[in-house]
Symmetry: C2
Subunit: 245 residues, 2 copies
Amino acid sequence: MELITETSTGYVPLYRQIKRLITDALVTGEWAPGQPIPSEIELAQRFKVSQGTVRKAISELASQKLVVRHQGKGTFVASHLNEPTKFPFLRLSPDKGPLVDVEADLIDFWRIKLDEESAANLSAVAGSTGWLIRRILAPEGVGIIYEEIRLPGQPFDFMEEKTILNHNCMLYSMYEAEFGIRILRVEERVKAVLVEGEIVDRLGLLDGSPLLRVDRVAYTYGDQPVELRRSYCNTSNHHYQNQII
Amino acid sequence: MELITETSTGYVPLYRQIKRLITDALVTGEWAPGQPIPSEIELAQRFKVSQGTVRKAISELASQKLVVRHQGKGTFVASHLNEPTKFPFLRLSPDKGPLVDVEADLIDFWRIKLDEESAANLSAVAGSTGWLIRRILAPEGVGIIYEEIRLPGQPFDFMEEKTILNHNCMLYSMYEAEFGIRILRVEERVKAVLVEGEIVDRLGLLDGSPLLRVDRVAYTYGDQPVELRRSYCNTSNHHYQNQII
DNA sequence: GAGTGGTCTAGACCACTCA
DNA sequence: GAGTGGTCTAGACCACTCA
């Protein structure tokens, strides 16, 4: 992604101002996820700038994956719904061959009080109510990943187990469809750990098996954190994949 | 990065052709790392296209980090030399606070015969000679990472221990300065493992301590793999950091 | 003040999609 | 064939760097 920092003189290029206006419209939901936004020509008329300036604004939005462009068809608000990949940010791959199908099994779903650390990471109030979701992800039917997901009460207050099940445990689709929360990016911290007890049991391992622990914070518009997730991965036959440019 | 795929009709936009010409000049070393390439206006004249078309080509090269643009100064061939960060692709951070200074200690440096797997990953011939470098990375002086690095004989044939030491173990700078090989991107596969013996000893740990194992393939121009690296990281107080957009 | 990259415009034309 | 995004041009002007 290209980065353009604001100058000390306070100069902000026109296309950046336009980008802001379009982003605002995206955030307020003027155009729904998956739906087209107005054409470049229409937006140029609306904002009284040239098509090129609108293009430059939209190009940045596309590189941030806020919108998706399709030549000949239009520009669409990005969405986790109807995506080909069920778990779009999942970085785990089998050592051999591609990741084919991942099954998700809900273990349980509780109301909790957010502890101090979780609350801080979610910019919520410590002790306020939230949710804890526990589940297993099973590529090709084999349980490889155990996950604990913590959500703030706001905006997820009216959630039920069946809300999750209706979406086949595809949480980011669910957040979007049920709560209008679209996950834009995630930050992860990865460690190697030894764990005992239930987690190891659930993954069918023996105590003393090393696990990959991935702590994730997921962000929506305005860089607001809305989900915490701790995943324990059995990396005997899988690996966490990453590319650095 | 924006991706533009070639169409089935074989149509390749002009700016893509220009990009290819500039890339070729970068690969053949027409302009040296750290040095400026000709201005956009000069390149436009040279290739007989508009400045805008050259800009679009250079923008893509900049987003791939093949070149770096500085407003008012020019566009420069990217380089690992004179970079602020000593280990540009290192993803390990302390759990608290920023990564300040990393020390590197060479353990040893041997000629080896490349085993079948390493050779395949380096697109070299199995059994051909190569190098094995072993070292420790120590943030704030504490040994946290043990690394084994494998290099093909070509183009690294004339390498000596002092070559490495002269560059303070900053290998990517060394490859560039001594062999004209610039690392452009790396792919990593991360697992949690248990290791015994020397590696654990070197990191001052007990047998049974879980370690993060990072397998890296480093690529230069033309997506050619030129280095294999296996790193074992003590993640007691550090973590592997990643962002997914 | 000369030279660099960065922005913005208006307009032409192209590739692609869909009815 | 109408409408979309994608490319390309020529030209004006702006922000920034450096002598």
